[in-house]
Symmetry: C2
Subunit: 260 residues, 2 copies
């Protein structure tokens, strides 16, 4: 059985063979990553897009064309070790396979992008309860009217994740997450969802809705699902991503991404 | 006359026409940047090199091929607004012109890299005196035996800058600089220079030697001159850089690079 004390290698080996609902809470203390793979000819554009949009797209590792493993996943394989994949052709979702072997190409460059699960551990350690975990749901994510900065073919809206935070703890939540600039860092918005183009907070574009308890304020962080929204808008010939909430569990430690 | 209260635009306009010894201390509060420009066909490799080596090569901006200005230097031109340039052909230094107009090519991609001048302001604000400034010299920089992580054609030794710090303030210097991960962050080494391959601290490879006062410990930070050492080792057909200490003064504010 997988759990908080599983090693990253154990999680990767398990999800290679079995479905899981989400990797949240598994291999506690180790960094989980979003995946985006695009053909080599778009790789500079995407790496530049990430450099220009570090809050939604903090790059924590790059697997060059033909490379399937790295020190972030020793003995692993990015084509099989994510619990679920999405395949986009010309921006259209065409498949959601359990492994990406049948869709992978030799010229794909794989980008691993930091995930907010890292700072959620830090929030919990600082006494800030997370509603989606208490309610047993995936975190809700939304397309916003916040534009990313374009690079080459890549551009589109920023996706954010939302966590309801008690008013008295909003400042703590900002302080704690700002210490993790490589995993989305401080929030991009606090309060009124409409100001960032979210019409109905109970209808997330990705993940699951959560109830906002009385006295809580919705707080929004840049989200590593942004590349998927950008792929839908930018239409590269092929892109392979993880399914939201089903992350690549790496051997990097959360604490390595903490400053100061 | 240029000084701490000059605006970035004033500094850029002045150095376009006049030589200066160094940009240290000019336009206080604004970020200064290292420059490396390489042909487009090497741009992905270099951006990946920077992603893999964020301490020596924190990218703060990228000017794509044919682009000479950006919001970091409104109205400016990267071909003229650095006080002094270096031109490398196949890894060999072939010219040190006052402007780069005669050497620039349409296919060059310009990378702006964070500079330790940003955290020096923060060190001074925190009561930590800087020996090279008190002694009226450029900061000493050294090639080390610390290898960078390779990407494509780019690889080579890390270059570090050294500042003597009073033993009682070493912890403060670490704490303060670690809040600036995009401008080299925390030191890479504290103490014995020989351990990182520096045989004689009085003979820097770049910049000028400083005297180490009694009771001070040499502290070493990753340095934005690293790309120049890497170019010398990696031999791209053409590379254009700033001259060490003569930086591009940008309109970005130092405080924008501070976490948390």
């Amino acid at each position: 059985m997988l759990g908080a004390s599983s090693t990253p290698a154990q999680v990767r080996a398990y999800v290679r063979e079995h479905p899981v609902r989400s990797t949240a809470g598994l291999a506690r203390g180790f960094m989980q990553a979003n995946l985006l793979a695009v053909p080599q000819r778009h790789a500079f554009d995407f790496l530049l897009f990430a450099q220009r949009n570090p809050k939604p797209c903090p790059i924590v590792g790059v697997l060059e064309a033909g490379q399937y493993s790295s020190p972030l996943l020793p003995g692993g394989d990015i084509r099989t070790d994510v619990p679920g994949y999405r395949v986009f052709a010309e921006g259209q979702l065409v498949a959601e396979p359990a492994d990406a072997l049948a869709h992978w190409r030799e010229d794909l460059v794989g980008f691993l992008i930091g995930c907010s699960f890292t700072f959620e551990t830090a929030l919990a350690d600082n006494g800030i309860a997370l509603a989606h975990i208490e309610q047993g749901r995936n975190v809700p994510m939304y397309r916003t009217n916040i534009a990313t900065e374009r690079a080459g073919i890549f551009g589109g809206p920023m996706v954010v994740s939302m966590r309801p935070i008690p008013a008295a703890q909003v400042a703590d939540a900002v302080r704690v997450t700002s210490r993790y600039p490589q995993v989305h860092g401080a929030p991009v918005h606090v309060g009124n969802p409409e100001e960032i183009g979210i019409g109905d907070v109970s209808q997330p574009d990705f993940g699951e809705a959560v109830d906002i308890p009385a006295g809580h304020i919705p707080v929004f962080w840049a989200c590593g699902v942004t590349p998927q929204a950008v792929v839908m808008d930018s239409c590269p010939e092929l892109a392979i991503t993880h399914q939201p909430g089903k992350m690549l569990v790496t051997d990097a430690r959360d604490v390595d991404y903490q400053v100061p």
